[in-house]
Amino acid sequence: MQDESDRLELLVKAKQLVESIEAKNDARTDELLSAMSVDRERGLFKEVGHLTRQLHDNLSSFALDEQLIDLTGKEIPDAKERLNYVIEMTDDAAHKTLNAIDEILPVTTEMQQKSELLSKNWKRFLSRELSLGEFKDMSGEISQFLEYSCVNMKVLNDKTNEIVLAQGYQDLTGQIIRKVITLVQSVEDSLVDLVRISGSPEEGDSSSKKAEKGVLEGPVVPGVVVEGSVNSQDEVDDLLSSLGF
């Protein structure tokens, strides 16, 4: 919009234009008309300049929002790594469990078949249907079966414990997913902030800074570097022994 002085100036020029038209001074009329259109263009440029500056300021205030930079540059790629790791861990746990079961099932099937056979012969023995030769065979089978069960029970025990241990993924993936949920929450907060900033640039101060100290990192995820972390139980042991443990 034009202010009062612009308006007065325009009025003066308009009067001059009317006078020159009435005086049939064509050259003067042309001159005055082009002067007025130059003024008009200058006003347009001023407005474009103003809009450009506003856009620039808004873009700068986006860039100044550290939280947003942190989220897009680091936290979200980290979250992707974390979620991929969750898939990996659940996959790994499922395979460990299924592998252990693959080893357990043939053992239990074989044990079942052998014990069925033995129990059939044992019943025959109890009802005195077994010949001496058959009895000798059976007692050999019983000794074999007992030895076999000692070995197999150990296998079953070990494999069952492997299955138990594989369930640890639930705790670790749970911790990782909780962290991602927190991240999603902060993305949401940032987007709300962004909407607020673009509505009125001055209000966008970053008072909602995060990164409090003492936040627990949770499980280490491959590909997500956490400064000052150890990578294995051996490193924990080394660190503790360096402290006199």
Binding site: L165, Q167, L216, V226
Partner: protein, 124 residues
């Protein structure tokens, strides 16, 4: 030997208890964070504490510090089993008086090794 297992994830409590049972410890009790663990420990009767670090309510490190600060429990062996693996945290736990530190995921052998070490030391 009565052992208290503290972890906010019930699956992890079951795993640790299973492994401990496998190692011959049968008198096991559990709690889901420091806040529920501490009244049990204070009431007495426990010989060994196995705790996670990151738990709601009261964390494992706070529980450890509370245990050490209390005369009745000050000498109780404490094993930390946690996903926290920052150096400064391990050092903090050591300074607070932890007896062993295991990072998750762990193996049955690691658990056995650390427990053997703790009891070898406390016996000697």
């Amino acid at each position: 030997m009565k052992i208290l297992v503290v972890d906010d994830f019930s699956t992890m409590r079951r795993i640790v208890k299973n492994l401990l049972r496998e190692l011959g410890f049968t008198n096991l009790d559990e709690a889901d964070d420091g806040q529920t663990a501490w009244p049990k420990l204070k009431a007495g009767g426990y010989d060994f504490l196995v705790t996670d670090w990151n738990m709601p309510g009261m964390t494992g490190i706070e529980l450890l510090k509370t245990v050490r600060a209390n005369p009745e429990t000050a000498n109780m062996p404490v094993l930390m089993v946690t996903a926290e693996q920052k150096r400064e945290q391990i050092i903090e736990a050591a300074q607070a008086g932890v007896n062993g530190y295991i990072i998750k995921p762990f193996t049955a052998a690691t658990l056995k090794e650390k427990i053997d070490k703790i009891f070898a030391r406390s016996a000697g």
